[in-house]
Amino acid sequence: MSADTDAASVGGPEDRPAGGVGLATSGASRPESPGAGPRRWLGDRIGSVEVLAALLILLIIFREPLAAALDTPRVQTWTTVFVSIMVQAVPFLIFGVLLSAVIAVFVPRSFWARALPRHPALAVPAASAAGVVLPGCECGSVPIAGSLIRRGVTPAAALAFLLAAPAVNPIVLTATAVAFPNNPGMVLARGLASLVVAMVMGWLWLRLGRTEWIRMPRRPELDDASRGRAFWGAVRHDVTHAGGFLVLGAMAAACINVLVPQRWLQTLADNPALSILALALLAVLLSLCSEADAFVAASLSQFSLTSRLVFLVVGPMVDLKLIAMQAGVFGRRFAFRFAPATFVVALSVAVVAGAVLL
């Protein structure tokens, strides 16, 4: 994988004497080992553990004024929404991270060569179908897709999986059926449209995508001789990394939730074209979990069925927390191309599906 070796060479030889490898034992877990450059922001003199401890002590001391500052209803609602997105997402994130660590450490590369069709154009639909079987949430599928690429799966197939897994799976489709008891066509339209989008994006990547857009961070711990160490290293890294970006996305979504008054939506609902665009954007901004968005779509009853289908197809594939996580796992150059393209494809496919099936 060129991106991998590429990244690995950065920061490699210039400041790492090859002989020092076996020398610094994990007693060197204190970052101020002599080899590290002295130019770090948080300094190598003060380690992050010390910073963390100081931060926590300060927070406990200033707990009262902090709580008082959060006591206005708007800020309180923001905090509630933020915390609840995090609480809701944590189990899915952990599940995804564990699975991705298993893929990264225990599943041999040769497995993917055998499991997926050799030709990339055929691997795309196969990977989309695998996404259907696996119940997951978007927060979990990003690290899984990252692991797949790392293990040599063609990016097109991994990306198709990334899009299909949260959007079409048994849990999501059941939730949709429950939320739209009077429109059984909604389940079919959602499933088909999402699958088509995942495959189109995979094939689009084959034609237009460039490997250098994906910049996967270097992960030396994955090559560790001890499988246990590699596994827990991957779990630790993915939780802090993907989890950190999840926090970013959750904060953005909480802002939208508190700041965008629902009255605005009312005026948009009356115009068919505007309503489709409005719900597509709302899906991106709200960043709901794909297991929950059907109920929210059902409650937006002033909007047309097609525009609500757009909401359901776009939401699990492009939203603020996903963009943040993708930028973290695959790099910004990738995310800023992939997310808008997915948005356009999902919007058009859903409109067509709505016109035909609803």
Binding site: V10, G11, D15, R16, G22, L23, A24, T25, S26, A28, S29, S33, A36, G37, L52, L59, R63, L66, A67, Q76, T77, T80, V81, F82, V83, S84, I85, M86, V87, Q88, V90, P91, A179, N182, R215, P217, P220, E221, D223, A225, S226, G228, R229, W232, G233, R236, T240, G243, G244, F245, V247, Q266, L288, C289, V296, S299, S301, Q302, A327, G331
Partner: protein
């Protein structure tokens, strides 16, 4: 953020999730059904933290390769593109949910959220409603009452007395309304169900006070100024203030 600090953050996050799911705190944010998954996730986070610390503090065998440069150069992989760092700096943000759960523990959504969002009732799941539960007054949820009053035009309610629990919020024309938030997944998708009140309307209560009202079906229908949806009314016979229930969502 080096690996030990990451381990501490994971430990704190796992501890916060465990504490929230073992107490009833989690009910302010998510549905009851998520509890086992939250406990499992919290435990896994704690295990991940312990394993990280164990591998960090344990002396390595002299021959073991490849690992140590990761530590020594833990956070200086980002010489290149700026994002390609090995030890993620973004992990510092994970302190925020820990703070939110351990120090702040924000309350469940209340009247502010209810007033910002339009009342939510999706079209009926079935055309005829089952009879009310036994008892006088019959205990029903705000959601159930609203659906029967609106889509069944009160037929299944008849002349029965019903008992509902909800909180007070301000409706159109500054009149008090009875509301309850409904979750489908987490508080981010929380939507209010609102009831107008006639008869012995609870007076002098601040918003977010929880009340138990006993009343009968009223055929009066109002409109929610937020989304123009219909709001059914309840003819209140009596009411009393109650403490907030354990699960504040319907």
């Amino acid at each position: 953020m080096n690996r030990q600090a990451q381990a501490v953050v994971l430990l704190l996050l796992g501890g916060a999730v465990l504490r929230a799911s073992i107490t009833d705190l989690y009910l302010r944010y998510v549905k009851e059904g998520l509890r086992p998954f939250l406990i499992a996730a919290g435990l896994l986070l704690v295990v991940a933290a312990i394993m990280t610390l164990w591998y960090e503090l344990r002396p390595t065998r002299p021959g073991a390769p490849a690992h140590d440069d990761g530590v020594g150069h833990g956070h200086d992989g980002d010489d290149g593109s700026g994002h390609d760092h090995h030890e993620p700096r973004v992990g510092w943000l994970l302190i925020l949910p820990v703070l939110g759960l351990l120090l702040v523990a924000p309350p469940a959504l209340g009247s502010y959220a209810a007033e910002q969002t339009g009342t939510t009732l999706s079209a009926p799941r079935q055309s005829d409603y089952p009879p009310l539960p036994d008892g006088d007054p019959a205990r029903v949820t705000v959601l159930d009452y609203a659906a029967r009053a609106l889509f069944d035009r009160g037929v299944s309610l008849g002349d029965r007395r019903v008992l509902l629990t909800g909180f007070i919020a301000t409706g159109a024309d500054n009149e008090p309304i009875l509301a309850r938030m409904v979750l489908s997944c987490c508080a981010a998708d929380g939507r209010p169900v609102k009831l107008g009140l006639t008869g012995d309307v609870p007076a002098g209560l601040p918003n977010d006070s929880w009340v138990e009202v006993i009343g009968r079906y009223s055929d009066r229908i109002g409109r929610d100024p937020v989304n123009e949806a219909e709001i059914p009314y309840l003819e209140v016979e009596s009411w009393r203030q109650v403490p907030a229930p354990k699960n504040q969502y319907d």
